[in-house]
Symmetry: C2
Subunit: 355 residues, 2 copies
């Protein structure tokens, strides 16, 4: 999702979050909710998750206007034990629902060492790593699972798209080094990457998709004739299924045939499910030696011998960390195509344009 846009305009994180905030305020969200969603969506762009940031704003607003999102949700805890909860999002914006779940998991983990909070009646909430990273500032580990909002993946050997790209994210604090942050779909390519290839008129590499005969599908413009492939074949299928069961079925959220394609259907309640697991480092280890051992591991890996032609070995989350630092200084590049869509949106809802 991290396309380096050549034709783009840089905006500050503040400009971007203010614009998104204003858009949600115009649709009737409360000040607090609009501010929270605006900040989280701008945070997505800030780390280069540009397929999950402001680019989604027109779609979210369309869904709100179609009645597909509850703008005044009563987000509530439906089941609860010392180390777990299920949060019912009342069909509110996913960002609000998942943030609430993560905050609850953090406070529970502080008491018992470990906590798992699942959501139901949530919605699309942006990049998985946003939520896995939230516990970091409390010296906690975050592990996040979600059911994707459209099924593009059949079971291994099948053609019926019963599964989504169900992502996994995990964030582990380091000491002097940036935190380890993994954020991955369980398919070889996320569907957004296929769409980006189509937009640029490029072919896909073998291994991303197959057609209904099981042959490699290389032309992204023909994507609707085929399916995404899971990572590691049957392994990624199993992983996508388990992530879906944990984030969806376990909390009473949609999974399998119940999943709504939120790109095509703006109105039906998606009943999206996510789950966050939080581990409080202070329960597991002495903080400083633990962080030092993560730093050492990072440096061992970064400094290890490279294959011919490889310039640098990256750690998970390192590229998005560097982007965050650079974009805070230089501004976040927003592609011209996205700016044009945002301009149309702004005029429709009576706001000044972003730039």
């Amino acid at each position: 999702m991290n396309t380096t846009a050549k034709n783009s305009t840089r905006v500050s994180h503040q400009q971007l979050s203010d614009f998104i905030r204003a858009a949600f305020l115009s649709q009737g969200l409360s000040e607090a909710d609009a501010t929270e969603v605006g900040t989280l969506m701008a945070d997505a762009d800030l780390q280069g998750s540009d397929g999950h940031g402001v680019i989604r704003l027109p779609q979210y607003i369309r869904r709100i206007r179609a009645g597909g999102i509850n703008i005044h949700p009563q987000i509530r805890v439906e089941r609860e034990r010392a180390s777990m909860a299920i949060v019912n999002g009342d069909n509110g914006m996913g960002h609000l629902v998942v943030s609430r779940a993560v905050q609850l998991a953090i406070s529970k983990a502080r008491e018992t060492g470990v906590a798992w909070v699942g959501t139901r009646f949530s919605n699309h909430a942006g990049p998985a790593s946003l939520y896995a990273r939230m516990p970091l500032q409390h010296d906690m580990i975050g592990i996040y699972f979600a059911v994707g909002n459209a099924n593009h993946l059949p079971p291994w050997g099948g053609m019926d798209m019963l599964l989504s790209t169900n992502p996994i994210a995990a964030a582990v604090p380091a000491g002097e080094e940036p935190a380890l942050v993994l954020d991955m779909a369980t398919t070889v390519a996320a569907y957004g990457k296929v769409k980006a290839k189509a937009k640029r008129g490029e072919m896909m590499p073998e291994g991303w998709m197959i057609d209904r005969k099981g042959n490699a599908l290389l032309d992204p413009k023909r994507a609707d004739e085929g399916f995404l492939l899971p990572i590691g074949g049957h392994k990624g299928y199993g992983l996508a299924l388990m992530v879906g069961v944990l984030a969806g079925t376990l909390g009473g959220a949609a999974m399998g045939r119940e999943v709504i394609d939120f790109n095509a259907d703006h109105k039906s309640v998606t009943n999206t499910g996510q789950a966050i697991l939080v581990l409080d480092l202070k329960a597991f280890a002495e903080l400083d030696p633990f962080k030092a051992s993560v730093d050492k591991l990072i440096r061992d890996i970064r400094g290890s011998e490279r294959l011919p032609g490889v310039e640098r070995i990256w750690l998970p989350g390192e590229q998005s960390h560097e982007r965050r630092v650079r974009y805070l200084r230089e501004g976040i590049p927003v592609a011209d195509g996205v700016l044009a869509e945002l301009k149309t949106l702004a005029s429709e809802i009576g706001l000044p344009p972003l730039v």
Copy 2:
């Protein structure tokens, strides 16, 4: 690891576990410990995890005789909170250490809904799914992570084998259907599969290994000139790293450069780390509707449209479930090559042969 041995002899689960038990008794393990390890190792063969069952017995005995295993370990809880613990295995057999960790996690999850127990100073414990499955009989979900016992995986873009095949397993109860049980290495192929190809004189498919120039390595006899590949490229690298941090670093067990190659070194303390996460279903949902929704998901997937030439769509754990049922009835096939090694072992330690 599930080779269908043509030249094999069938033994009952009881015969197999008795033989293993006797071998460990002969080395000084207590009755209770020898029985537990014997049962778990025979359970591995019973589900077809034949790379992790009795085939490992000669290696385990060699390690005990070299002083690399503590035969009278004081397995103890080193850190503890309501929902977590770190178990120090005192360098005992991994099967004993991990079983203890799982039992503790089950009792904690019963109280708080969720529990995470990590191990340190543990050892190789057999197939991951053995432990992820233990919570099933208590209507709980098990999720298991482990640091592999030899590094065969470099970081993405690298040549220095700092990572292992670090497996993930997850088991979710169903109703009338067999439980969903995923058990996967984070590499495309487990190292045992490479060894099996070499033994059979077969070439490996592209995608299993690369050589030090980054080219595909197809000849399994040249395996030591190259490295395993992670599933999904950089994704599997990130996943293997995170699993290692969670199962190893977090509990103070070996990770990265600290990992001992237990195939080559029979004496050094491996300080193996594993972690089990247990979720008590009763905290999350009403049991019957939950199980019915898992059954429905399983049947939707099994009955879904297949690619041309595909005879059946399998669920994770379904093949090992069917094998378990069949082998209980017909006996467990033990390959002639393995039987020969066990015969040599038996005569060395003064036991009657298995068959």
